[in-house]
Subunit: 333 residues, 2 copies
């Protein structure tokens, strides 16, 4: 991403106008060069890339600010789950046209989030596409050497904890589509708005990164659904898990929809787009983790326990009976 | 990009099958985690992101190996022009379907280039799209602290040098489209193949990176056309330039097409996709630069001189007359 040289290029002018104001880090060189730098650090640099596609990960009429925030925050959520502090990001934006009415709020949302999360725009580019808008971001973070939190460290006996609430984003998407949740909440505009907001603008748990790094044996961000992401964490760790379904944290709105049987628990735990942190915490560290989470202002819930074995994680009801889940997570292919 | 956990996801299986074999760097964690790491270094980390879109930057029937190589090599070319040694890359691949006949050669080409250029796959992801295939890569390189080569350091009196030959890729695209160059070279399959190859598979000048770092006052990779990229370098440096058109290095095939007036010089210097390095070299260092380039096995040509002023770079014929260029570079918008 480069601001205008001689200015023959509309692409350069676009970048100068909308994105140069975001490039406040000295390593971005004001987007006036062909590449950016990160200065040497004693830390490991954590690297993550993630893209969202119009019509797949966001809707054509989603507000452009929200699209920008979702694109960046999906990456920030991964950094948080790995215990990393944000350092900056690169943006690639594929557009059909340089539409000011879309780009202005997009850049504003992106800039506000970059400041809020301390994750400056370092560089990037715009490309034209005849197809859907795509926002591809590579984000970088720092962890002390060797302290990245893997998927693979969970051990039998560890508690399984999750932040925030699960299933809200899936319900938000259902509401946008006029699904069953919309009917149940027809008289509750506030609840509908909250759920739609959870779909459109994730709330990554970056303030919890240090607590995860200090205490978790394994962690993953919940992006493809709690059940599927838990299965990935367990498989990577060579363990299984027993989840107490009643302990899965739900918002009041989600609990109301569930109570009315408008959707089942499966839709909530496999819906995706939660951007919460799922982690395994050794029993001896759980109190310290919970205290650190409290200081960080992030709600955490203990929802089960790591058990030995290679079977799929079990979801158990209050009577200890299996709650069958037909499919665990959203898959693109 | 994550290899299969519990394996509920076709996306994960796709990544495991095609891309895990490429993730040889220990910091990639075998694509088994949610993020990668780069270990601390005393060097500055150079960051570049670049994407190619089907139908815009490559053609639907381009060989998948070539698409992969072009996607990575465009980034490698930027690293070379900035004086950086490759350290690794992240991949985001947007696909309509998981087509084995396309993915197998794509991954093979990508893996071969990653090895050849010492730039390992660190991570990434696949996403589904209803639109054109898009390959977005973020590449990383190392330079000693403070030694990145900017666009902005050219000073009046510096020589302007360019590597390799200019315009071949533009002619290659013209040939694929059955344009005038195809007619001129109808009897010369070897020349046609060379030019098409230059369009499909760039030859980035990474072996020249150290010489650029050691000697160049400014550099840029020639991706949007020599004339436009020179204009950007000059504008960033606050200078102008006088280019001797007869000194612009052309392949024998390009020279033949030009001699037959099938295309004009403008098409060659504004065509783009050259992936050569354009740099300014202080006169006192030019011999040392040329010697280093010779040792690196890269042809360099002196094509003009940096002059003071803010005017557009001048392209001059053998009689010192301006060669007018109507448009300087390809722009997406």
């Amino acid at each position: 991403m480069t601001a205008p040289g001689a200015g023959p290029s509309g692409e350069d002018a676009l970048i100068a106008r909308y994105f140069k104001p975001l490039a406040t880090d000295p390593g971005a060189f004001g987007l006036l060069d062909d590449a950016a730098i990160l200065k040497p650090s004693r830390d490991d640099l954590v690297l993550k890339t993630d893209a969202i596609v119009e019509g797949v990960h966001f809707l054509s009429d989603d507000p452009p600010e929200a699209v920008a925030r979702k694109a960046l925050r999906r990456n920030l959520s991964d950094l948080a789950a790995k215990g990393a502090a944000p350092a900056g990001f690169l943006l690639t934006l594929a557009l059909r046209e340089a539409d000011e009415a879309w780009l202005t709020p997009f850049a504003r949302g992106l800039g506000e989030d970059a400041r809020q999360y301390g994750c400056p725009l370092l560089g990037g580019e715009t490309v034209s596409t005849p197809g859907p808008i795509m926002v591809s971001i590579s984000a970088f973070g720092h962890v002390p050497p060797g302290s990245i939190v893997h998927r693979s460290g969970a051990r039998p006996g560890d508690r399984i904890a999750v932040t925030g609430t699960i299933g809200d984003a899936a319900l938000g998407l259902d509401i946008i589509r006029g699904g069953a949740a919309a009917s149940v909440l027809a008289d509750n505009a506030g609840a509908r708005e909250m759920l739609v907001g959870r779909y459109r603008v994730p709330q990554p748990r970056n303030s919890l990164a240090k607590a995860v790094r200090d205490h978790a044996s394994a962690a993953i961000d919940v992006s493809d659904g709690l059940a599927g992401d838990l299965a990935k964490l367990c498989a990577a760790s060579g363990v299984s898990a027993a989840i107490d379904v009643a302990s899965i944290p739900l918002s009041a709105a989600a609990a109301a929809v569930l109570a009315r049987r408008a959707v089942g628990i499966e839709a909530l735990v496999s819906g995706g787009d939660d951007y919460e942190i799922l982690c395994a915490i050794p029993e001896s560290r759980f109190d310290a983790f919970a205290e650190a989470a409290g200081l960080a202002g992030v709600a955490v819930s203990s929802i089960g326990i790591v058990i030995s074995g290679a079977s799929e994680p079990k979801f158990l009801d209050a009577q200890g009976r299996d709650v069958p889940l037909a499919h665990l997570a959203y898959s693109h292919f």
